[in-house]
Structures are given as C-alpha cells and as structure tokens.
C-alpha cells in the first residue's frame, strides 16, 4: 500500500469511526439528560407540554441516530473495501450496553424526588444488557482473531459467513500455477483475462492485500509469457 493511499484510507477510517463514536456518545449523554428530567419529555405540537426536553437534546438525539447510521455504513464500506480489520460488529453492543448502563444506573438511583428502585428502568436495563451482551460474546472471538491475524477475514463474505481469506488466497495461487501449463497455451488468453478479473475482485473485496495481489498477478502474467 502506497503512502498516499494509506493516508487516504486512514483519513476515511478516522472520520467515519470517529463520527460513529461521537454519535454513540451523544446518544448516551442525551439519554441521561432526558432521564434527569424524569425519563419523559416533549417538544412541539399543539399540546400542553408537562415536561419540556433539555435544550438542544431533541436535535442532538435525532442527529446522532441518523448520522450514526450513515457513518456506520460508510465505515463498514471502507473497512471491507480496503481489507482493514474493523470494529463494525462492536457498534451494536456498544449502543445497547451504553444505553442499558443508563437504565441500570438511573433505575437504582433515580433523579429528583423519586426514591427506591425503578422497576421499569431496571427491566429495560436487563433487556438492553442482553441485546448488547450476547452479540458481544458472539463477535469477540472473531474480532480478536482478526486483529491478531489468527484467521478471520476482513472482507464482507468473511463478516457474513465466516469464510477466511486464506482459502481465497490458496485458490488464487492454484489458478496462477495452473495457468503455466504449456499444453494449454493456445487457449489460455481468455482464461487469463477472467482470472485477472477474479484477482482484481478478490483484491477489491480485501481478500488479497496489495502485495498478495501483485505477486499473484505477476505469476499469472509470467505463465502467459
């Protein structure tokens, strides 16, 4: 990977993941602000409002939800396209565990004149803890493998069905070797074009990094010569 390409990838990853992190934190803080005024508030509409929302919080909540979804999609796109091990699978657990923490904290020690445990919030906290904790347990081993290089894949097929990048690499090497057979020389050109296209696809998906792509392509082209 060249320096400019690496820099561009770094900027995209920092902006998108930083944005997702910002959105999650804003949502966490906004929820706390609403719970500080009793957990229910309203703005706008032709009604008499008993409890107004804290200033700025409705806009922050709306913006952080919509912005977070868009930025998470962009972050996923960049990690998969560039074959970068990412934290996409942690976004869901981070969202539900952080909001679940708020439910637990405020359920145990409610604000204002309320006293004692708030059963409704504690139940919500339990549900959110399960919704965040179970997926976290499921994705953690794969995430550790991805960052330690012990299997796992950064491409989309790897994320979705757990296919390692290694079989794809082996397939490419087999393709490159088979293309060297002299007896197949006259009919090889169309095959090589399609194999180059496959290589390019594997490179774009992240199954092959730049160096692996270059080596496989050289092998393929040497076989043609």
């Amino acid at each position: 990977m060249g320096a400019p390409k690496n820099l561009r990838a770094t900027v995209w990853i920092v902006l998108t993941l930083g944005g997702v992190s910002c959105a999650l934190t804003l949502l966490y803080l906004s929820m706390r602000a609403v719970m500080d005024v009793g957990g229910v508030c309203a703005e706008g509409g032709p009604f008499e409002i008993r409890q107004h929302c804290p200033e700025g919080v409705p806009a922050i909540m709306t913006g952080s939800i919509l912005g977070g979804i868009v930025l998470a999609g962009m972050y996923l796109w960049h990690t998969v396209r560039r074959g970068i091990p990412g934290f996409t699978l942690l976004i869901w657990p981070a969202l539900f565990l952080s909001l679940g923490w708020n439910f637990f904290e405020y359920g145990i020690d409610p604000p204002g004149p309320q006293s004692g445990l708030v059963a409704g919030w504690l139940v919500c906290g339990g549900v959110f803890a399960l919704m965040g904790g179970l997926p976290l347990l499921a994705v953690l081993p794969s995430l550790v493998r991805r960052f330690t290089g012990r299997g796992g894949s950064s491409n989309l097929s790897g994320w979705l069905v757990g296919v390692s990048g290694a079989p794809a690499r082996r397939a490419v090497v087999r393709l490159a070797r088979s293309s060297r057979s002299p007896s197949q020389a006259p009919s090889r050109s169309p095959g090589i074009v399609s194999e180059l296209e496959r290589l390019d696809g594997l490179h774009r998906s992240g199954a092959l990094d730049d160096e692996e792509f270059r080596l496989a392509k050289e092998r393929l082209l040497r076989g043609e010569a």
């Binding site: 993941l17 997702v20 992190s21 804290p54 074959g83």
Partner: protein, 33 residues
C-alpha cells in the same frame, strides 16, 4: 496483512474512538449550554 499493519489499524481506530468520544462530550456541553 502483516502484524505491523494490523497494529497500525488498531491504534488508528482506537485513537478515532477516543477522539470521537471526547469531541462528543465537548459538543454536548456546548449544545446544551
């Protein structure tokens, strides 16, 4: 992907998460006055 590159991306992303969280706290304080 080499171990050096994996470490590079891990550190870059941890820095992004830390920066995003810090920015969010500052932004929230500013927006809610």
């Amino acid at each position: 992907m080499s171990s050096g590159r994996r470490l590079y991306w891990l550190l870059v992303q941890l820095a992004a998460i830390a920066g995003g969280s810090y920015g969010a706290v500052r932004l929230f304080d500013w927006a809610t006055g």
